[in-house]
Symmetry: C3
Subunit: 138 residues, 3 copies
């Protein structure tokens, strides 16, 4: 019985420590499905604020549907900022289903962006791995 108590205590305390220490490692998967350029500009401000408040946060931004516009070098109004935040560790991910369905030219996708096959399924898998989900947009 003593051993049981010990094991449960150790296990629970390690879980709580992991979950609750204040300097914890945030992992954030954001979904951008909006083509609204105001949303894109606002998102850049949010990256700045997030990285200031939590400099070690892992941030991924999955762009799909009209949201892919933010990653297209021929139309994005925040291309320079995307490159800047990519260099600071924010991971931008283009949805290949969207590229195919919208007949976008893959060569025009900002080269700093990574790719996922199906945007929503990637977001789902991140949540299954314990990442927090934030839907971008107003």
């Amino acid at each position: 019985m003593k051993r049981l108590t010990l094991i449960l205590t150790l296990l629970l305390s390690s879980l709580f420590t992991f979950a609750q220490e204040s300097g914890r490692q945030h992992r954030i998967v954001m979904q951008l499905s909006s083509g609204d350029t105001l949303v894109h500009k606002n998102l850049m401000k949010q990256f700045k604020n997030m990285l200031e408040a939590a400099p070690t946060a892992k941030i991924e931004v999955v762009c799909h549907g009209p949201g892919m516009d933010m990653l297209m070098s021929d139309r994005s109004i925040v291309a320079a900022k995307v490159k800047e935040f990519a260099s600071k560790g924010v991971r931008f991910l283009a949805c290949d289903n969207t590229i195919r369905e919208r007949n976008l030219d893959p060569a025009l996708v900002i080269p700093e962006a990574g790719h996922v096959k199906a945007g929503i399924i990637h977001i789902v898998e991140r949540q299954e791995d314990g990442w927090s989900y934030i839907k971008a947009g107003f």
Copy 2:
């Protein structure tokens, strides 16, 4: 001490296996609160892509507020698609609070749809049970 190590190892490895095996069973609760018919059409494309990328995924779509329009047979522009995806296992759920507050005729709700009392609380409970959450719309 050996036993403790064994137990922790077994426990952690089973947790990791459950969470990380690539063929894992996705459970996805989507929230549709938009009455925008472009959102409704886009959602149908997303179902197609999701089921292609993850054929065994469990998908629920909770429709509330203006989003209930997608499930009303007198105004939905995707009624045929809703029936098609319902037959493929996507579960559409109508919010009874919305039906009452918007004075919608319950007899006009697409019969393939299920019902929940309070849409948001259902979404919350699914998240508590480990489902991933996706907000539909742009």
Copy 3:
């Protein structure tokens, strides 16, 4: 081996009990980033429905970006309702980054509202602590 089985059984059953009992304590963090007054009015209806369906639910609403308008006493069209729901336990949180960036007058923030430094990071931390996330808006 018997002890192992016992420990695993106890542990799993306590986890399942915690997660699945029907009268469970909901903890919900909502994100309001929209300045649309229709969204603000709709949100008030949602609070009413949520508290009816789950009277003991803990609800927080993080207002940032244009969503801060709902907490500004000089422009909110639901200020009276915000105060009413605050008195019923709904916790409204103003984003200090937004106040600074939008040059909002902190003295005009509805006094019932609390404050967070960075709205999105607060939402992320709540999810890490097991709260369910709901994005407000259509």
